[in-house]
């Protein structure tokens, strides 16, 4: 697969289990924040 960022995997492999879980949680929280923002934006544009 060409689109896999191996440097990201190599960075993750340097982390402890807890650090990997914490990093994932931060990414997950960001995804959820973006989802919420997208939902608000759609509601706003639907209300026009």
């Amino acid at each position: 697969m060409r689109d896999v960022d191996r440097t990201l995997l190599r960075e993750n492999l340097k982390l402890t289990f807890e650090q990997r879980a914490e990093k994932h949680l931060r990414a997950l929280q960001m995804v959820e924040e973006l989802r919420r923002a997208g939902k608000k934006l759609r509601q706003k544009s639907d209300g026009r």
């Binding site: 995997l9 993750n12 402890t16 807890e18 997950l28 959820e32």
Partner: protein
């Protein structure tokens, strides 16, 4: 809701529940960069373990995910004994419980293919990377193809990392 392993795993370990972490969160612990939204656990189907599992998760209000809120679902040992795999929503996030994974493997089958993780102040079992890939392959879902390819690359990188 962002599911946090640090909130879900320790209460299960302290309640002496026999389980193995599998799925996307296991991949994260192996170093995967893919975001996953739920916690997948294979649990032992012994009566005692089911009792412990039910008691440990009860405070977090487990309920069937994507189900109507008015179903007569009781979170108790009888329900778990009578079923096998459960897709749950809890106050801590989404949790999938597997009595059996694709390919028919159970907790006892997967135990020799798991390793101890020391994290969040507890020790628990996580499935090893080759077995995680094998389970994903056994599901045979087209949506897992990309995930499997990425796990294989992770496996290559892990081998390189271990070789120094």
């Amino acid at each position: 809701m962002a599911v946090d392993l640090a909130q879900i795993i320790p209460p299960l370990v302290r309640a002496e529940v026999d389980f193995i972490l599998i799925g996307g969160m296991a991949a994260i612990l192996h170093g995967s960069a893919r975001v996953t939204f739920d916690v997948d656990l294979v649990y032992s189907r012994t009566h005692e373990n089911i009792e412990r599992l039910v008691a440990a998760l009860a405070p977090h209000r487990p309920y069937l995910r994507d189900a109507s809120p008015n179903l007569p679902f009781a979170w108790d040992a009888r329900t778990i004994s009578g079923g096998l795999n459960f897709r749950l929503t809890t106050k801590l996030g989404d949790v999938d419980l597997f009595g059996e994974v694709a390919g028919g493997e159970t907790y006892s089958d997967l135990l020799p293919h798991s390793f101890d993780v020391d994290a969040f102040g507890v020790h628990f079992k996580c499935v090893d990377l080759p077995t995680l890939i094998r389970i994903k392959e056994a599901t045979g879902r087209s949506k897992d193809r990309e995930a499997i390819a990425k796990l294989r690359i992770l496996s290559e990188e892990t081998d390189k990392n271990e070789q120094g």
